[in-house]
């Protein structure tokens, strides 16, 4: 593996992510050229391809584009003065659909624009940090949430401070660094039906009131967890208030039931295929496997990328230098996809589904009597 390791939960890591130049695609060599490489050169070339396949650019899928457009609207319109309440965005979707990617890529663009427009220092000479980002853990309390925000900024007083002091430090950091947007990832770790979860949920509301930033939350099944609970009364009525302030954004998986859905699936396959650096890569290599790839991944982009990345690794290691159903059959991915595979395989085999654009799913033939 090459390249520096860093965490997006620290300002240094976030800055590195924001300012990193686009990766350089390794040169495409044909199989004959590959054979003529010396051992060391071949090893370096394969390493470069492994790195590339694990990190090639983010594809602007229709789902991602729609989320970016909504976030752009919510963050750009969130210019209310500090005495007014500003809304927040919540990306609520199943795992493996790119919630974190959607939030991070949007915030990266926002950060770049702010730095370009206002420069790296604030008017008071502080470091400008347009975005902060924290990821919650399974036992996030009010205190740990405040500490995570302070640790992002590298505040030196995070180890011995109380929850209230940490909240004050976090406010100082946000104001001094003129932060405009905050990402809180993995919000599903908060369970509002538990006492400590309700405390954190209330604290998020406090943060939204006190910090002059627009929050972008991301999590799994948030609506089901009651974070947007509407019509609640009594002690939990505060959640209904949250539901009034947060805009919920969904990130659906790919589907192949409609013609538009099949076209989007083809667009994903083509965009991916064009990125691959395999000696025997051909136009149509992935689109020819449209049904198979959908069956394997259920249209979840996270599972799809994992399958392709591991498949490319195997194709390079075995010398096949191309992706085929036989090779990909040897690659296992997440359990959810593996479990869903059987059902989808039956639907494709029976003709009830097709992932190829321009085709229409046919009805299964009636069984012979």
């Amino acid at each position: 593996m090459t390249g520096p390791l860093y965490s997006l939960s620290r300002k240094e890591g976030w800055r590195r992510y924001v300012e990193a130049p686009a990766r350089q695609r390794p040169e495409q060599l044909a199989a004959g050229q590959l054979k003529r490489l010396g051992d060391a050169a071949r090893e370096d070339y394969d390493e470069a391809r492994h790195d590339w396949h694990a990190n090639f650019g983010i594809m602007r899928t229709p789902q991602l584009g729609a989320i970016h457009d909504e976030l752009e609207l919510i963050v750009s319109a969130g210019r209310q003065d500090p005495d007014r309440v500003r809304g927040a965005a919540v990306i609520d979707a199943l795992p493996g659909l790119g919630k974190t990617t959607a939030a991070n890529t949007f915030a990266r663009g926002f950060d770049r624009a702010q730095m370009r427009r206002h420069g790296p220092l604030t008017g008071e000479g502080h470091e400008r940090i347009p975005v902060f980002r924290v990821g919650l853990t399974s036992n996030t309390t009010l205190r740990t949430l405040n500490r995570m925000i302070c640790e992002f900024y590298g505040h030196p007083g995070t180890s011995r401070a109380s929850a209230a002091q940490l909240a004050s430090y976090a406010l100082d950091c946000v104001l001094s660094c003129q932060t405009r947007a905050g990402i809180i990832d993995d919000l599903h770790f908060i369970d509002p039906r538990r006492k400590d979860g309700l405390d954190v949920s209330n604290h998020l509301k406090w943060l939204a009131n006190e910090l002059p930033v627009t929050f972008i939350y991301a999590g799994v099944g948030l609506a089901g967890r009651g974070l947007f609970a509407e019509g609640l009364t009594g002690q939990s009525a505060v959640l209904a208030q949250t539901g009034r302030r947060w805009t919920r954004l969904e990130l659906p998986p790919f589907e192949v039931v409609s013609e538009q859905g099949r076209q989007h699936w083809q667009g994903l396959l083509k965009a991916t295929e064009r990125q691959l650096v395999l000696a025997r890569c051909r136009p149509g290599m992935l689109t020819g496997l449209a049904d198979y790839l959908f069956e394997r991944t259920s249209g979840h982009i996270g599972s799809f990328i994992t399958l392709v990345t591991r498949g490319c690794f195997k194709a390079i290691r075995t010398g096949e230098e191309t992706l085929t159903a036989a090779l990909l059959d040897q690659v296992r991915i997440d359990e959810a996809s593996e479990q869903a595979r059987r059902q989808l395989a039956a639907a494709f085999a029976a003709g009830r589904l097709s992932a190829s654009s321009g085709t229409r799913s046919r009805k299964p033939k009636a069984a012979a009597s």
Binding site: G32, A271, P283
Partner: protein, 87 residues
């Protein structure tokens, strides 16, 4: 522009040499006596153009396999509806 006597003589000599080189249309005529000294005439050895082609060094390997030669994807519109890649 040719100015001096010596240059004029050189220009005439070069022009006459060029005129002796057979044109492409004439090369099919058998028995033509227009070949430059040191080159093979028609009917015996390959035409000079073929000789020139044969001087390209042969490269062995799978690149020679027609199945491995494919059009540059970027040049075709196969990927026209592929999603954009964010930098």
């Amino acid at each position: 522009m040719v100015t001096g006597r010596r240059e004029r003589r050189m220009a005439v000599r070069l022009a006459s040499e060029r005129a002796a080189v057979p044109g492409a249309a004439d090369q099919e005529a058998p028995g033509q006596a227009g070949w430059l000294p040191g080159t093979a005439g028609p009917g015996a050895d390959p035409l000079p153009e073929d000789v020139a082609l044969r001087t390209v060094p042969a490269v062995a390997g799978d690149d020679d396999d027609p199945a491995e030669i494919f059009d540059d994807p970027a040049a075709s519109d196969f990927y026209a509806d592929a999603f954009e890649i964010l930098e």
